[in-house]
């Protein structure tokens, strides 16, 4: 990829005893679309605010183009932000909101304040409004706009300053589902057109997978995994990532040899290597990687406890020896029927044990988990208000 633009080195953020960021190391490349993904209180917004300059890390450095910028105030950083609830200026109309940044004199190369000429301001604002499809709305008060339109104004207001990096803090959180999908495409298009770096904060894994070049999964103030969307999905590093990204059945297993893992006292072929002999591991099996077969032909046998029609497939919950799996299949299996399953070696992903082992991957309370994910996140960004993440995952 292209060259490195921003680096966080051993960044720690703490308020008294409460550690919000725990030794974050991260680099962000130029023109990259990077997403900070995680549940409420994971530290993603704090990370973003450190990059934006609204917070200064308790320890560690933040570098921009190789220069330490810990003490550079927000207004001197080549970074602009799209805020969670837009934070448009209510007393200004659309045009003046977008023009706001341009009207502030900036430090020129000779140290003198440089102002953008009025004509240029006009052209750049109009151009930007065209980019975000808001032409003709210049004179409207921002309070008279819909949520999606306000969102576009916020983006235009940030981008018109031609930042090197655009920070987006849950920008689509307040929009309805349809609008959110449209805006995802739009944002991706804008990012590619403008050729700048986007750092995007969200708790929505689908959004993260759909838009990002790189996804950083965070939890408990730590980075759990950095990778491309495909890496993150296919090769989760631990039970947390596996569970947070998509649906996963996570089962205790033991590595008997390279390519052989034992679950429920039964050996399965897999592709994973390099584990110790008889090392206890977490085994991830994605619901779509399980084939349902006759009970007799199955590698494992269980009882169907619930079936939900999802359109493309059925969400089928199957009880194997007291452990409930989610299986996504196009075959309909009635409740209480006995079935067998087969799993191909590439459908099995083995992870080392971690602090998250045993916390996720059981579908005893499947429906609640969905609800939990739909809760719109509200990170106050103050740090103090960051509740420790309390999910329903453990059930």
């Amino acid at each position: 990829m292209s060259k490195e633009l921003i680096r966080l080195r051993d960044c720690v953020m703490s308020y008294g005893d409460e550690v919000v960021l725990d030794h974050i190391n991260l680099y962000i490349n130029d023109k990259e679309f990077l997403t900070l993904l995680g549940p409420s209180g994971c530290g993603k917004t704090t990370t973003l605010r450190i990059i934006g300059g609204f917070l200064s890390p308790t320890a560690g450095d933040i570098l921009f183009d190789g220069v330490r910028i810990n003490d550079v105030p927000p207004h001197r950083r080549a970074v602009n932000t799209v805020f969670q609830r837009y934070a448009l200026f209510p007393h200004l109309n659309v045009f003046e909101n977008v023009a706001f940044g341009l009207r502030i004199p900036k430090d020129g190369p000779d140290g003198r304040k440089v102002k953008v000429p009025e004509r240029e301001i006009h052209n750049r604002v109009m151009e930007m409004l065209e980019t975000v499809n808001l032409k003709g709305f210049e004179k409207r008060p921002v309070s008279a706009l819909s949520g999606g339109q306000q969102q576009r104004v916020a983006i235009a207001r940030a981008l018109v300053n031609r930042p090197r990096v655009l920070l987006l803090d849950e920008p689509l959180g307040a929009l309805d589902m349809r609008l959110r999908k449209d805006m995802q495409n739009e944002l991706k298009r804008i990012q590619q057109e403008m050729e700048i770096t986007f750092i995007y904060v969200t708790h929505d894994q689908e959004e993260a997978l759909a838009m990002s070049d790189t996804v950083v999964v965070m939890d408990g103030g730590r980075i759990q995994q950095i990778g491309t969307p495909e890496d993150i999905y296919n090769e989760p590093k631990n039970a947390f990532v596996a569970d947070f990204i998509g649906e996963s059945n996570i089962i205790d297993g033991v590595m008997r040899a390279d390519g052989v893992v034992e679950i429920f006292n039964r050996k399965f072929q897999c592709l994973d290597k390099g584990f110790g002999r008889d090392e206890p591991v977490d085994v991830v099996i994605r619901p779509e990687d399980v084939d349902i077969v006759d009970e007799a032909a199955g590698q494992l046998r269980g009882t169907v406890t619930s079936v939900t029609f999802k359109g493309v497939h059925y969400d089928t919950i199957v009880d194997f020896y007291g452990f409930k799996w989610l299986i996504q299949t196009t075959d309909y299996c009635p409740v209480d029927s006995r079935i067998g399953i087969k799993i191909d070696p590439d459908g099995i992903h083995v992870m080392r044990k971690s602090q998250y082992s045993g916390m996720f991957g059981d579908y005893s309370s499947y429906s609640e988990e969905y609800e939990e994910l739909d809760v719109v996140e509200d990170e106050s960004g103050e740090g103090e208000g960051d509740d420790p993440w309390e999910g329903g995952y453990e059930e």
Binding site: G52, G53, F54, P73, P74, H75, V79, N80, T81, F83, Q84, R85, A87, L88, F89, P90, H91, F100, G101, R103, I104, K106, E118, R140, P141, S143, A144, R157, A158, N161, G381, E384
Partner: protein, 670 residues
């Protein structure tokens, strides 16, 4: 049934509002009364308003009120706004706790705030005095003033301090409503914090700031109690001035100034609620609308092209504000001043104007309520008067305590005109400290239409046939003096037995219900209105009652056979008076024959000036356009020598006797 209850409800509401507004309505109506009665309508006139604007004491206090309110509002608005912003950067728990703390001063009784501020200032001044003395001792480059007193500055500080909570209270909700990210957004777009404040925070919280400022201004204009305790002796706000004007009787002039005060406060409140209503309406309908003319104008003005005009306008406004303040205060400071403390209605105010015109010295004229009030004011160290006009016995006391400065009689040539009768009196045997201002007697005032035979003895005060009709003077010295005289003792006796005997005379009468009440200034209304038959009071005040007596009332004045008290009020200068030279000029001016004539005519008390006493009947005829002065009245005003013979002047009583007086007086109850 239902209809009836609705009618009852309306009646109830009607009565409630009547109860609330009828007094104010009456006040407004009577401010337009042609006569000087506050009970009888004599036709419409604007005379009292005219008189108001010619009354220099009122205009001066109006100016003080406006200045203190404007300054306090401006400073409190800035301080309160930033304090509120500071509060909002704290955590919610701390902020909520502090907002509760912020509410306390507003709920607190004004009197507590006033007294505590006064205490605080006085304590600070004492500390400062010690510091300044030490500082002036160790170096000579800078001379710090060692004596600070309560005054405009302390009152301003007090107003600022009680205004700030109101500003915070009004700004805080606007900050709460404001999206916290707005400031971050502005900084993100290149603003420094200060730029963000001007461009984003200020427009957002402006409505709160404006209403906070309006309320602070209203509170300042309205305040009496806190000003009273912190203004010291030489500054008066309008409310304080009105209060001192009502001491004797509520004149239509007071009605007029109260009406104006009421209307201006009403206007401010109406302005504020109109603004709030407009904002609510605007918030209620979010739809796009055609901007009003003013909004278009302000949009134009806020466009960058107009920036210089805008900045110029702001700068011009700031300059104008500073200039006005500088002019007002500068005018007050650059001029030589003399601080005078006298009694209410005790000078023809024309004289002040005349003196100022002649000498260029500004007269800061204040009034005290009584000798005792003046004394405690002086003792508290809160006064910075030059000239005071205490009565004889108080002069003795002040002299005993070394509080008076010797006068430079070479600069008071008019002292020569003081009648020998009024020189070298017991309170100042060598006449080194005083120049007499006026003199008079304490006698019996009675309503001839309410008493059968004319009383010629102090005994009338304790006579059961007047039960419920006698007003006891609410001043232990005067009340016991009458009793002592009646018993044939000296008014200055220190014999405990005699004093106790006199006291039981009063106490017994009180038990028998002879007295209607203990009064000082209410004596005017009671006697003028025919609500009481007999009272003890001063001759000069009798004359002014005579001018105001209601129909059917026939007030007379008599010096009883047993004799009476006579008194002299004299001008003195306090030790360390800040303006000694001006004080000498003032005293000489007031001692002149012309000034004495004017004062005699205005206040009804006799002058100690020989020429003035001789010329007064002619002067009276001139002023009254030919009407002759009633010789009997003139004798009451200026008692002839043979009457004065029978009268005794108070001397200062020894502390033990004073304590006895106090103890007995408290026993008497209210």
């Amino acid at each position: 049934m239902k209809k009836q209850s609705r009618l009852g409800g309306r009646l109830f509401i009607g009565l409630t509002f009547l109860f609330l507004y009828l007094p104010i309505f009456l006040l407004i109506v009577f401010s337009f009364n042609a006569g000087d009665s506050s009970a009888v309508w004599k036709g419409f006139s604007l005379d009292w308003y005219k008189a108001l604007f010619q009354n220099r004491l009122i205009m001066e206090s109006l100016y003080t009120t406006l200045l203190v309110s404007l300054l306090a509002t401006a400073i409190a608005t800035v301080a309160g706004t930033f304090a509120a912003i500071g509060l909002y950067s704290l955590s919610r728990r701390k902020r909520d706790a502090l907002l509760v703390v912020n509410d306390i001063p507003m709920m607190n009784a004004d009197i507590v705030t006033g007294v505590s501020l006064c205490l605080f200032f006085v304590a600070f001044f004492q500390g400062w005095g010690a510091f300044a003395q030490w500082f002036n001792g160790v170096q000579s480059a800078i001379e710090l003033p060692t004596r600070l007193t309560l005054g405009f500055g302390t009152m301003l500080l007090a107003h600022i301090s009680f205004n700030i909570p109101y500003v915070i209270l009004n700004v805080a909700p606007k900050l709460r409503q404001m999206d916290k990210n707005l400031v971050d957004a502005a900084q993100d777009l290149g603003c420094t914090w200060m730029q963000a404040f001007w461009k984003v925070i200020l427009p957002e919280i402006k409505p709160g700031i404006v209403s906070g400022a309006l309320i602070a201004f209203t509170m300042s204009i309205d305040d009496f109690v806190i000003s009273y305790f912190t203004a010291g002796s030489s500054t008066s706000t309008l409310a304080m001035r009105i209060y001192s004007m009502t001491k004797k009787r509520i004149t239509p002039e007071v009605n007029a100034v109260s009406t104006l005060l009421f209307l201006s406060v009403l206007l401010l409140l109406a302005l504020n609620s109109a603004r709030e209503a407009r904002q609510e309406r605007r918030a209620a309908r979010q739809e796009i609308r055609e901007p009003s003319f003013f909004e278009k104008l302000s949009m134009r003005l806020s466009s960058p092209a107009w920036k210089w005009i805008r900045r110029g306008g702001l700068a011009a406004m700031a300059c104008a504000f500073v200039a006005v303040v500088a002019l007002l205060t500068g005018a007050a400071w650059s001029q030589p001043v003399v601080n005078v403390c006298s009694w209410g209605e005790y000078i023809d105010e024309e004289l002040i104007t005349q003196f100022e015109a002649e000498t260029g010295i500004r007269v800061n004229y204040q009034t005290a309520e009584s000798n005792e009030a003046l004394y405690s004011l002086l003792k508290s160290g809160g006064a910075d008067y030059d000239v005071i006009v205490p009565s004889d016995y108080m002069i003795s006391q002040l002299l005993e305590e070394g509080m008076l400065e010797e006068l430079d009689y070479s600069r008071i040539p008019n002292f020569e005109k003081i009648d020998p009768r009024f020189r070298n009196l017991p309170y100042d045997p060598e006449n080194k400290y005083t120049v007499p201002y006026s003199w008079g007697t304490l006698g019996l005032i009675y309503n001839a239409s309410m008493v059968e035979e004319e009383p010629d003895s102090w005994g009338a005060l304790y006579d059961d046939q007047y039960a419920g009709g006698v007003l006891l003077i609410n001043n232990s010295r005067d009340a016991l003096a009458a009793a002592l005289l009646h018993l044939g003792y000296s008014v200055n006796t220190t014999d405990e037995g005699e004093i106790r005997e006199a006291f039981s005379l009063v106490a017994d009468a009180s038990r028998r219900g002879v007295f209607q009440g203990k009064v000082m200034d209410q004596v005017f209304q009671k006697m003028e209105g025919g609500n009481a038959a007999i009272a003890t009071y001063y001759a000069g005040d009798y004359l002014s009652m005579l001018d105001n007596q209601a129909d059917g009332v026939d007030l007379r004045y008599v010096i009883p056979e047993e004799g009476a008290n006579w008194f002299v009020d004299a001008m003195c200068v306090l030790k360390d008076a800040p303006h000694y030279d001006s004080a000498m000029k003032w005293i000489n001016f007031i001692a002149s024959t012309d000034a004495n004539l004017a004062n005699m005519y205005y206040i009804g008390y006799a002058s100690p000036n020989t020429e003035a006493l001789e010329r007064y009947p002619d002067y009276y005829r001139e002023r009254e356009e030919g009407e002759e002065l009633d010789p009997e009245l003139y004798e009451i005003m200026a008692a002839p020598p043979e009457v004065l013979e029978r009268c005794e002047m108070y001397t200062v009583l020894p502390p033990a006797t004073r304590a006895l007086y106090n103890e007995l007086w408290i026993q008497l109850g209210t």
